[in-house]
């Protein structure tokens, strides 16, 4: 397994015990996801695990429920806009961050990741008041701004890490060969940071898709995101349709994980 365990190979019982512990901990991590996916295929009327039989009926029911499908579409739309905006703004900020040096650089990083470090609840409450003051309360635009703010750090961290890998000498070489700043960006920097940029967009999109607290407080009139619609559904109906909706959301995140692995490798991403 490793250098450590080889060095102490005379202590086998400890390793077996540790192995069991690790397996249990991973079961703990994956259990909620597995139970949701399982429960979504039940043929019975109740949300239960293990499921009764197998059927697609709750997926069909999900797509027939206007409130849930509207929530899904709204979440997808807000997530897509969030991804595009945060990728652009974060790309610019990461390029600026490169020319900041010394102590200020640390403060800049901290500032850029602030929405991740301050509890969502506080940001949400503050934004609720602020949007009220500028007369954007209960609008889709206001909710969109909240999502952009909350997802920005994810885009920034990914893109800043990618841009740090680009050697400064490449930029200098490009400039000395007569390329303009824009040409250097488009032909030299952009292709090199593309995987990191795409990863930032994926993280940003998925984070927006999952946000709950901020959406609850900034909820526009007559509009629900999928998590909001799902919460209401769980509170009032609690049918396997919810498991089908949640499974779609899990598939999205697993897809995201797979894409990130393909783009930059999970080990470098986390």
């Amino acid at each position: 397994m490793s250098e450590m365990t080889n060095t102490f190979s005379n202590q086998k019982p400890v390793n077996v015990g540790f192995g069991i512990l690790i397996v249990l901990l991973y079961i703990f991590l994956m259990a909620p996801l597995v139970m949701i996916i399982g429960a979504s295929f039940t043929n019975g009327m109740m949300i239960e695990f293990p499921p009764q039989g197998f059927s697609w009926r709750w997926y069909i029911e999900f797509f027939e429920r206007k409130d849930l499908v509207d929530g899904l579409l709204m979440s997808l739309r807000i997530g897509a806009i969030t991804a595009v905006v945060t990728m652009t703004v974060a790309m610019m900020a990461a390029m600026a961050g490169q020319v900041i040096s010394g102590k200020l650089s640390g403060w800049f990083q901290l500032g850029m990741t602030l929405p991740l470090l301050v509890p969502e609840l506080l940001t949400a409450v503050g934004l609720l008041f602020f949007l009220y003051k500028i007369q954007m309360a209960k609008t889709v635009m206001g909710l969109q701004m909240g999502h952009i703010l909350m997802s920005f750090p994810y885009a920034y961290v990914s893109i800043a890490a990618a841009i740090r890998q680009v050697p400064a000498s490449l930029e200098e070489a490009s400039a000395s060969l007569g390329a303009t700043g824009w040409q250097t960006f488009r032909l030299v920097i952009l292709p090199l940071v593309m995987p990191g940029l795409a990863m930032g967009g994926i993280f940003s999109f998925i984070n927006s898709f999952d946000l709950y607290t901020i959406s609850l407080l900034l909820k526009p009139l007559g509009g629900n995101t999928l998590p909001l619609a799902l919460f209401d559904f769980l509170t009032y109906e609690f049918k396997p349709t919810a498991a089908a909706a949640a499974t779609l959301s899990i598939l999205l995140s697993i897809g995201g994980v797979a894409l990130v692995q393909k783009l930059v490798g999970l080990q470098r991403a986390f």
């Binding site: 450590m4 909620p32 506080l122 409450v125 919810a242 959301s249 994980v257």
Partner: protein, 284 residues
């Protein structure tokens, strides 16, 4: 740093985003907490300290605050206990196995909190897997009502925050040079001594930020207590959101949020002071 570098201008949209939509609004919340209650509007025109007086003089709010702070503390400690072995195991893995383990951490992390909590609702059903397991192990004689209990809230919160703890500890462990461990064990250190004197101190740079991040986020977690906590027990975040969306008492809700934030900062400060003293002592 040269302020004349035009590249710096590229930071303007990001700085504006965070300043205008986050720093300004949160500062605004402090002002809001001193406003008088409104009648037709969610807040009044004058200033008062009545909301703080009300919170600090009412044992109910102290109780809820204490519950929130203690629950987050329990969640943080349990997270550490669960995360350390995972991080240790992960830090040793290479190749495909490492990819698989990272995926096991990343998939829950990238799934929404609401969805994951819903998974625990299924697990905690009266005839669900949790009860079945406890029955099979002989730990209980008849199924327990697990839903809407504090224990389930803690369990679900631990699940939410474990990845936040695993990743920094894993990174710290990966930075420990294997030669350091080999050297000390070849010099006769026992497995336990190597762990206590080398690995544990060197993983502290991962443990410390992990614990603070989890604590700060757990104190203010709203979804989990709202969905799994039921109506009987209140936590500060559910109380705050109730004031803001249910009764529209914005100044009072703000005061609650400020009290929660200040208490959290105090706890984190105390923790930092204690651990830095502990670190110094272990160095000496």
């Amino acid at each position: 740093m040269s302020l004349r570098n035009p590249k710096l201008l590229l930071a303007i949209p990001a700085v504006a985003l965070i300043f205008v939509f986050m720093i300004l609004p949160i500062t605004n919340m402090i002002e809001m907490s001193f406003r008088t209650p409104g009648h037709s509007e969610p807040f009044g025109d004058d200033y008062t300290t009545m909301h703080y007086d009300r919170i600090l003089s009412d044992g109910y709010y102290w109780g809820v605050l204490g519950r929130s702070l203690l629950t987050a503390g329990a969640v943080t400690l349990l997270c550490l206990i669960v995360s350390y072995p995972i991080a240790w195991h992960m830090s040793k893995a290479k190749g495909l196995k490492a990819v698989f383990l990272y995926a096991c951490i990343a998939s829950p992390l990238m799934t929404g909190v609401l969805v994951r909590n819903f998974g625990w609702m299924i697990a905690a059903a009266l005839n669900g897997p949790l009860n079945e397991t406890l029955l099979a192990l002989g730990m209980i004689e008849r199924p327990l009502r697990l839903l809407f209990t504090q224990g389930l809230v803690i369990l679900a919160l631990v699940h939410v925050f474990v990845p936040f703890m695993v990743l920094p500890i894993n990174n710290a462990l990966r930075n420990i040079s294997p030669t350091l461990i080999e050297a000390s064990s070849s010099m006769g250190a026992t497995r336990r001594e190597v762990f206590r004197d080398i690995i544990l101190p060197l993983s502290f740079p991962g443990i410390y930020p992990g614990m603070i991040l989890v604590y700060v986020l757990a104190v203010a977690a709203y979804v989990t207590p709202a969905l799994l906590g039921g109506q009987m027990v209140s936590y500060m975040p559910t109380l705050i959101i109730g004031e803001l969306t249910g009764t529209f008492q914005w100044p009072f809700g703000s005061a609650l949020a400020i009290v929660l934030s200040v208490s959290t900062i105090l706890v984190v400060g105390l923790f930092t002071a204690l651990t830095s003293r502990l670190m110094e002592r272990s160095k000496a």
